[in-house]
């Protein structure tokens, strides 16, 4: 068992995205509502394990608001992982930025810690031991 702390930044546009976290035994670890801005999700996870982050509630046409003249995003519904801590120790930020792959509903794969589409993200925790998980996630 490890203690996992996920630091999230949540963007609001017609509400926020829904996040549920389950493992491959369908055990539900998280299904609470997120709020706009910074959120911290704390989980005690049985390891080894594979978590699945299910993302829903976004309508791309409606929830991503662009400035039509510049193309800049004015408002968006998204979840961004800013930090991952295992047993109180953060993983390297560069590793976190590269470690997640979002599988979108339209079958695209996006390698990013910024999630702006509905879909699912796998988070593989292949070792039981927190030290192993850290040592295998050094940049």
């Amino acid at each position: 068992m490890i203690n996992l702390l996920l630091h999230l930044e949540v963007g609001e546009s017609n509400g926020v995205m829904n996040l549920t976290i389950v493992d491959h035994h369908d055990k539900i670890y998280w299904s609470d509502k997120l709020s706009e801005g910074k959120n911290v999700v704390e989980l005690d996870v049985d390891t080894p394990n594979k978590l699945v982050f299910n993302l829903s509630g976004k309508n791309n046409r409606r929830d991503t608001i662009l400035d039509k003249s510049t193309g800049k995003i004015l408002k968006d519904k998204f979840i961004k992982i800013t930090s991952v801590e295992i047993n109180g120790k953060p993983l390297n930020k560069n590793v976190v930025a590269k470690m997640f792959v979002l599988h979108t509903e339209s079958k695209e794969q996006i390698n990013s810690s910024f999630w702006g589409f509905n879909g699912s993200v796998d988070f593989d925790l292949p070792y039981a031991d927190a030290l192993d998980l850290h040592l295998t996630n050094l940049e």
Binding site: G88, K89, P90, D129, A130, L131, H134, L135, L138
Partner: protein, 474 residues
């Protein structure tokens, strides 16, 4: 309450590390139940006896600079070995001593593992290794404190601060140097409790010598050295105090070889002469139990070190490690070394005459070095081969010059035209005007090493120098 103090890998040495023993002496004198072990040496032994030969280098590279190509299971087993050794003493407090920056990575993972295995144990870290320099505000200690991986860190001398902290844990702010960048140098090194090595496994050391602190700081201000960032004031112990400690260790351990950890043993000439007289007298009376020492040593002009001094030194010294640093006199004076080539030859001649072995330190690629001074150095080895092996038993050319933060060279880098290519790697710098670049310095190093060997000198090199130079090639 039980305090466990240990060194932290990685220090490439065959001798016992002093700090845990020194701190144990201080803590015991204050009534704290203390154990001091040298995990650095225990780990080196563990790795050598557990893994293949090539693993030693890979593990060392990981612990030195966090190289990411490694077998994480082997790293984990090293961390677990250390943590199990620590927890086998069932301590309430653990103090980790980081000798240099090369202890940082091991420290980080030891703390993490300790927190997991024994969350109730208070973790304290200290030593020069927790900072790039003691002036630096950025340090691993502050990061680990914020992450709650440690409870306290100590900046500066732990001699007083560590026992104070353990005894006044509920009021750490009252203790100098705790969780703070401010600290006070210990006012007097004399009459302190002696280092206690009784918990060390003495069978592990190839070089069975005991570390001694005779002074702190330095009387010189060499431009490449950051010692004054650590100890602003030069402090020394009396000859009598040091001599009593040597006798005490001999009585306790029967060890007769002592290694001074000072920047130089002969900073205070008066006390140094007294110590040489005391040792000479002792060794004359106890021919089967002669006490011998080695130390860093500075060469001085003949007027300051007449022949009688060398006669006295010869009665007890088994090696002088001398920072000659440059063969070229102008380069050496630029460094802040205050002896001429004439002085240097006088000292070597005296050492040869009285059979005092010297380990000669040189820096390849100082900021004022040029192709001309490089050639002069190679020629010097050839012209002075009569110094090999007496008195120059060995020569170390180091890993070429690093521009360390906190040094005069670092402060004057713009004036000297030094361009630092990587703030995190002290050896990657260039001076365009004189074509003094990493690749040129590596070439000089290889050629000087060859010239030195061809002239018959024994060239020694530590593994960390190889790692540095490999990194320079990248």
């Amino acid at each position: 309450m039980k305090l466990l103090i240990t060194s932290v890998p990685w220090t490439d040495t065959e001798s016992p590390l002093l700090a845990p023993a020194l701190l144990k002496g201080m803590c015991m004198a204050r009534g704290i139940n203390t154990v001091a072990i040298d995990c650095n040496q225990e780990v080196l032994h563990f790795i050598k006896t557990t893994f293949e030969k090539q693993d030693l280098k890979i593990l060392q590279e990981f612990f030195y600079n966090g190289i990411k190509i490694f077998d994480h299971k082997k790293v984990r087993s090293v961390i677990d070995y250390i943590v199990e050794r620590i927890l086998s003493y069932d301590p309430t407090h653990v103090a980790l001593s980081l000798l240099t920056y090369t202890s940082k990575i091991a420290c980080e993972w030891i703390c993490f593992r300790l927190r997991q295995k024994a969350p109730h144990v208070k973790i304290i870290i200290g030593g020069a290794g927790i900072f790039n320099t003691l002036e630096s505000k950025q340090n691993i200690a502050e990061t680990l404190l914020q992450q709650k991986q440690i409870d306290f860190y100590i900046k500066g001398d732990g001699d007083v601060s560590l026992p104070d902290l353990v005894l006044k844990e509920s009021a750490p702010r009252e203790v100098h140097g705790v969780n703070s960048v401010e600290w006070k140098q210990v006012p007097d090194l004399n009459r302190s409790p002696f280092p206690d090595y009784s918990d060390y496994n003495m069978d592990l050391y190839e070089n069975m010598s005991i570390g001694i602190v005779g002074s702190r700081g330095c009387v010189r201000r060499c431009t490449f050295c950051d010692i004054h960032e650590h100890w602003k004031k030069y402090q020394w112990r009396t000859a009598e105090d040091i001599f009593q400690e040597l006798l005490w260790h001999y009585e306790k351990t029967k060890v007769t070889k002592f290694k001074f950890q000072d920047s130089l043993i002969n900073g205070n000439q008066i006390e140094f002469r007294k110590l040489m007289k005391l040792l000479a007298e002792h060794n004359k009376k106890n021919t089967d139990e002669q006490l011998k020492w080695s130390s860093f040593f500075i060469f001085r002009p003949q007027t300051q070190m007449p022949e009688q001094d060398w006669i006295d030194i010869s009665k007890s010294a088994y090696q002088l490690t001398v920072g000659i640093e440059s063969i070229n006199e102008q380069v050496r004076f630029h460094m802040g070394k205050k002896f001429t080539n004439e002085d240097m030859h006088y000292c070597f001649d005296m050492c040869a005459k009285y059979n005092i072995p010297c380990h000669m330190l040189l820096i390849v690629g100082y900021v004022t070095d040029t192709e001309q001074t490089h050639k002069e150095t190679m020629q010097w080895f050839q012209s002075n081969k009569h110094y090999a092996p007496n008195p120059i038993g060995s020569v170390s050319l180091g890993g070429t010059l690093g521009i360390l933060p906190g040094t005069e060279l670092y402060r004057r880098k713009d004036e000297l035209g030094i361009q630092l290519k990587d703030e995190l790697f002290d050896h990657k710098w260039s001076i365009e005007k004189t074509a003094n670049t990493p690749s040129v310095r590596l070439k000089w190093s290889a050629e000087q090493t060859l010239a030195c060997k061809n002239a018959g000198f024994n060239v020694t090199s530590m593994t960390d120098n190889h790692l540095l130079m490999e990194q320079m090639m990248k």
